[in-house]
Every structure is written in C-alpha cells, then in structure tokens.
Amino acid sequence: MKTEQEKEQTIIMSGNYAAAWGAKCSKVKVVSAYPITPQTTVVEKLSEFVDNKELDANYIRVESEHSVMAALVGSSMTGARSFSATSGQGLLYMTEMLHWVSSSRLPIVTTIASRGIAPPWNIWADYTDILSIRDCGWIIQFASTHQEIFDSILMAYKIAENSEINLPYFIVYGGFIQSHTSKPVRIPPQKLIDDFLPQPPKDGWGHINLDPDKPITHGNLVMPEQEYLDFRFLMQDAMIKSKETIKKTINGFNTKFGRNYNGLVEEYCCEDADVVVIAYGALAEQNKIAVDQMRAKGCKAGSLKLRYIRPFPTEELLELFNGKVEVIGVVDRGTAFGNPTGGPISTEVMSLLFRAKRKVKALPCIWGIGGRNVTVDDQVGLYEKLLRIKNKNEYPTDETCQHGTVWMGLKIGV
C-alpha cells in the first residue's frame, strides 16, 4: 500500500484553499499575513495547518500588511522559505516593503486575491491592486484556475529561489468568484513535490544570510557615484533573464506532474487568426468559449492569455504581431487613470505594435471592473467590434467607447 507521502489526492477546495495548500506543500517555514477580504480564508487555512502541525512553520501575527512584509524581509534574509497572501487595500498598504523585498532580492512568494480599490468599497475581482504596483520588481503571474493557483506556488519558489534570479513572486487570481468557489484540485504526492522543490540551502541565499555569528549590514547608504544605478540595472537584468528560467521550470513541472502549462503566454487558436483578444486572468480563460463560438460561425478568432506581465512577454507578442493577425483587442481588468488607454496593460501591449514588422490595428478595452459580470456574449460582442475594424475599418462610435477605449458595460441609459 502507498503511504500518505506517495499518494496523489484530489480534493474539492476553494481557490483560496488551493493557495494555502500550495504554501503547505512547498513546506514554507514562515508565514506572515493579515486577514483581508477576499483573501482571509487563505490565512485561516494556513494557521489551521500550523496549529494542527500539518505544516512545520512559524506563523507571525502582526498588526498590518506593512509589518507582514517587514517580518518576511527578516525571515527570508535568514534563508527561510517565506509566504504571504493579501488583496486590494492590504497590498497597497504593503507597497513600501514590496520594494524592500525586491531590492534585497528575496525570493518571497505572495498570492493576491485581487479586488477593487476603495472608495467606494468593493471586494470583487478587479486587478487594479496588483497593476498599480506592477513596477516594484516582483515577478507577476496570473493564475486562472484553482489547479493553476496550487501548481504555480510550487513553480514560483523554484523560479524565485534560483540564484540567477532571486526576485520575489506574486501569483494573482480574481477575488470572490475564483477565491471562493470550489473545484477539484489534484495534490501530487509530497515526495514528488519535495523532489521538484527541495528545501533551500541551510546557509541561506548566496547574496545575503542573517547570521548573528557573521554580522553584516544591509541597506546602507549608497552615494550617487557608487553602484546604486548598477544594482537597479541588475534587477532589470534578472527580470529579463527570468523568462528563460520560467519557461524551463514550467517544462520541468509539466513533465514531472503531467500538466500542460504554457510559458509567458497561452495562445488559443492564434495561428491563423485574423482577430485576437489579448487579456489576462480568469476572463481570458472564459474568452476561449467566445473563440469557439466565433469559429463555429466561420470567423478566424483567437485568444491570447497573458500568464505573466512581469517579466513582460515581449517576444511572444511580437511573434503574434509579425504573423497573420490583423486586429487585436487588448483588455484590462484594472484601471490606470490618465494612461493613453485608461488601462495599464493595453498601453504596454500597444506600445509593442511600434516594433512589429507589419501594421496591426488595435482596440483597447476595459472589462469586469469591480467584479462587473462579463458574459461570453459580451466577449463575442468584442470580437464583432474587431471584425468591423478588420472588414470596414470601422472603430466603435457608441457611447461605451470613450477616449478611444471600450468600457464594456458602461451605463449609458437607453
């Protein structure tokens, strides 16, 4: 008979529990987190694991998210695998320490159950929280299924702890629908996981190790003529290099655990597509159904899901633009007020059109803000808009299209 350690189990669990299970199976040594809706059940489950001795970790309770990350800076500097989870306002409150983590090159993994930013209060899926801190030096990956949340945590530690990379890592999923609904999640045998993700070296990360017997000072003042600029360049260099590490790690994971994850993007029917919608998160997953419906009507539609936005999948997008696509729809579930498109990622994606070898038309769009429902019909509607641009060069003129961007679902009266 197989022992507990050798068995694969399938458990029906919420997206949040999948995150807690991911941390447990990664054998994290330190957890610090402050409860915030809709992340709360992640940390409740983790404290339960620690309390039941199913997880041999220190759970550090603190008074705020800022202190959460400060606590993990300390724990990670000793070489302890460290985990947190947060959402919305909590993530924003953490912001200063996020820079401390990335600039100290600490491989901390944190999951985000994204929610709308207050005021007015909103606790439903909206990625404005993570998007507004997208430039703080963390790797940012979206997980659009429960299984992907769990699996991604195992891969995240492997990528972040790679001594060439040493960057912290966010795994992001939508608040409420994804965090609170339940689905089956396959938990591989712990032995197999330990084999894929061994414990970090006892003497800490190569670049820093807090040890009272060998005192060091870190975070000292660095003068303008010294290497501050060069250390900042090293972070960009690590981000770019992480693309290869990410792809290798995903391939290794797929082979070992029988999964089928893509690299920085996931393409669906893009090879021969005339019109492609580029999006991220669970709505990008749902968008595949709209593609199927368009294909059934004989339209060459495709869907490209951004799995990562940091590092940015520049090469993958250029490959798409240099291929057959004629019109892209670029969708944000988040806002960046005053940006050329009103959404941060559509602006970034469209900036790459300039580097493409051929002309590709684009329509930026914003959907699902504050958890607003986006149906497959809505997504089919977006493809129809793209087809009008392709066939007649007709850009939308209705009132949901403001300042050149489609605000899907904007209330405009009758």
Binding site: I208, I216, T217, N220, V222, E227, F231, L234
Partner: protein
C-alpha cells in the same frame, strides 16, 4: 568630506556591473560611513565631577561612540560623535552639556 580608511566593502573593486553581487552588503566596521564627527556643530562635554557613572548615556548613544566600563567615567570618541545631543537629554545628573564647536 575626507574619506576614512574604513570604506564599506561595496565601494571597492567593482569596475563592471557584471562583477557585482545581487545587493550591497557591508561588514560592520568602525566608521564605515566616514568620520561622522565632522557633522557636529555642538559637542557633548562631560563634567566628570557630576557624573555618577551610571552608563545611561552609553546605552542611548545611537552611534555607539561613548566608551564606558563599569565604575569609570565614560569617554566620548569625538572622531565619530555626530553631536545629536541624545546623551545630554538622557543624563539623569545633567553631567553632560552641549557646547558650540567654536567655543
């Protein structure tokens, strides 16, 4: 400012970003940021008569520049004392006083 001999490890020996470690880390050493005594406009002056050798000033000095051993009047290392005046504030016997540098 003149540079002290005790430079932090980071500022020596790197001519290219390729040689740099991930982050700057330095080994704690005396005066690693230079001779901070040159920052001073007021200096703490100790009245040995009034001092009861309690060591409170030594505990509070943020720069660790007060040398103190039990039963002896403390000594201040003026090469690195930056003149913040905290020792003067915490002394229970008012045995310390801030005096303007020129005087």
């Amino acid at each position: 400012m003149e540079k002290s001999n005790n430079q932090p490890a980071i500022s020596t020996g790197y001519s290219s970003w390729r040689e740099l470690p991930h982050i700057p880390v330095s080994i704690p050493c005396k005066g690693s940021i230079g001779e901070t005594g040159k920052w001073r406009t007021f200096r703490p002056v100790l009245d040995a008569e009034a001092c009861i050798k309690c060591g409170i000033c030594y505990l509070y000095c943020p720069d660790g520049v007060i040398l103190y051993q039990d039963d002896a009047v403390p000594e201040i290392d003026y090469t690195y004392c930056k003149g913040c005046g905290i020792c003067v504030t915490v002394c229970p016997k008012k045995a310390l006083e801030m005096v303007q540098e020129q005087q």
